[in-house]
Subunit: 346 residues, 2 copies
């Protein structure tokens, strides 16, 4: 958890004000304690990665990124106003203490939207198995801004909700959508043009395989990790440009359903991001020995002609990409795998 | 093995001519089959790495590098002239067939120096356990040029022998010396200023620990690997400059015997080189799961206050660097480790 997130800055408040300025009914009417807001959002897997911020206060990325959302895996959040002194936050049906890092970060985020003299009650439930290594902060902040939008009846566009979710967690901007989404880097310093949009393309044959790897060491947070990379990794210089290039190739591959082009670029992009982490000092290595063993299995399968590629985020788990036709081979090679078809609910 | 190495090019012949032009008694007198040349050279471990050629024909590197030689580990080579049709090459007391990749490469190298109508008999023995993952081509080509110098009585300076060894294998340029050596990148296109020199500094407390990791997959050769990196790795753009910077820091650390500075820079440099490999397409990953486990042990030891760092070359094995005071802790943490003190023969 970054200190930046624990106190709201003026810059952030101005940003929020600009996003919701014309939709502030909660300043004009009293929200009763009987009213509830509900939000639900999926986790997303970046196909071309976000690593490095051009503005750490507003979570503005060095480069654009593209993701695929996983239906059924995500976060459900319910929020209401109370007259108590402090926010009360339940995570997976457990009331958290107020000094829990999750609470500190969430309360700071809620401060942007807090009516005078009130506190929030938040019930948030992740339908992602925690151990699956899928970032729940992305679906978490997306679900939260949806719940706030519902509670305050802002009727914000999804694009504007994406801006707000980004302020909570960069990759949350992409979790407002099902299917493929693109999060634009944006050019402006005020952060108002760095939001995600859906990509209107289906790919029914696309399978995502989740491979669970046990973590033996407590990893560095991605917020701190990416900041260290930007500050100490010489090789990072070339990353933003590579990431933009990879993203364009991935978009092309998505539009023409070219699986090989998609897979090669996704894997190359992920390995390049992890390369910038390793070339950071002190080194950031999220891989576990089992991660490397799983990669070797993927490469061996490809040598055997099987179309399968992987991606990895700031953790040890591999996410496989393969077309439906390869499902039997993948299931045979990886016993403990959860397979999801984002466009073809089973 | 690269095709480039199997045939000598005019550019290479011109280079060799320039190196040995004033020392060519073998053109003036007949070497009898009774005469022998003997050479012996150590393996060396790069502290700042060589990865990428600015000229693949002459083995000119993108960046300078610094190494430490390991006494007692290396190659012994004996060479003589025969009147037979073909070269006969013994490796570790085994006669190799002429289409063995090692023979093809060596014969091509010997063509630069071959008197008319003659063949060579070469006996070469590595005192490096092959499985220890220490490159024997470096000590091999260094020993070979020493043997040739002895046979032909060229009386070349070590600097000139370093130039010749470089033509056989880039890192061989550094294996002409004991202790620390620096291989200059050089500026000229003709390759005559890209040689290694010794660094006149001792560091008696310095220990090198060799950790043996089993290889499960046949790795890509470093010649092909580095060419692929130069061609396809965007992040590589920043490598040559980082490598030069790291080398300067390592030289400073060597001069003032600053172990922490040495270790941090060596490990950062090695991880950055491996980062450029991983960000190559197809990816080059020399690591094995056991390599990563050993790295994690190193990082854990450092967290416990133990001064130990690692480096890795184009293979899965770790080479540890630590001061003599840490020897007991290292031996306890790594059972199967071979410890060498380059300046303090036990």
């Amino acid at each position: 958890m970054s200190l930046i997130m624990t106190t709201t800055t003026l810059k952030q408040q101005v940003f929020v004000h600009h996003v919701i300025e014309h939709q502030l009914p909660h300043n004009n009417r009293l929200i009763t304690t009987q009213e509830y807001g509900i939000g639900q959002a999926p986790v997303n897997i970046a196909l071309s990665k976000y690593w490095g911020k051009r503005d750490a206060t507003l979570n503005l990325p060095m480069n654009s990124s593209v993701s695929i959302s996983l239906p059924d895996l995500g976060t459900k959040t319910t929020i209401c106003i109370t007259s108590t002194q402090q926010d009360a936050i339940w995570l997976n049906n457990e009331l958290l203490s107020n000094n829990h890092p999750f609470c500190i970060r969430l309360t700071a985020f809620l401060n942007f939207f807090r009516p005078p003299n009130s506190a929030f009650q938040v019930h948030t439930t992740n339908t992602v198995p925690t151990a699956a290594g899928l970032a729940s902060s992305a679906s978490g902040y997306a679900a939260l801004v949806l719940a706030l939008n519902d509670l305050f009846q802002w009727q914000l566009s999804t694009q504007k909700l994406s801006l707000l979710a980004r302020l909570g967690s960069g990759s949350a901007s992409r979790s407002l959508y099902s299917g493929f989404a693109i999060w634009h880097r944006g050019q402006q310093d005020n952060g108002l043009d760095s939001y995600a949009e859906p990509i209107d393309t289906q790919w029914p044959e696309l399978c995502i395989g989740l491979i669970k790897i046990n973590v033996q060491q407590k990893p560095i947070s991605s917020t701190t990790g990416m900041q260290n990379t930007v500050n100490t990794c010489d090789l990072y210089q070339a990353w933003p440009q590579q990431a933009e290039k990879n993203m364009q190739t991935i978009l092309e591959a998505i539009y023409i359903n070219d699986f090989e082009k998609l897979g090669e670029t996704v894997e190359h992009n992920a390995l390049s991001m992890h390369a910038t982490m390793m070339a950071t000092w002190p080194p950031i290595v999220y891989w576990q020995p089992e991660s490397l063993a799983a990669m070797q299995t993927v490469w061996l399968l490809r040598q055997q002609g099987i179309l399968v590629y992987f991606t990895m985020d700031a953790g040890p788990n591999l996410k496989l990409l393969f077309p439906e036709t390869e499902k039997p081979a993948i299931m045979q090679a990886f016993g403990d795998i959860q397979i999801i078809m984002p466009f073809n609910k089973n």
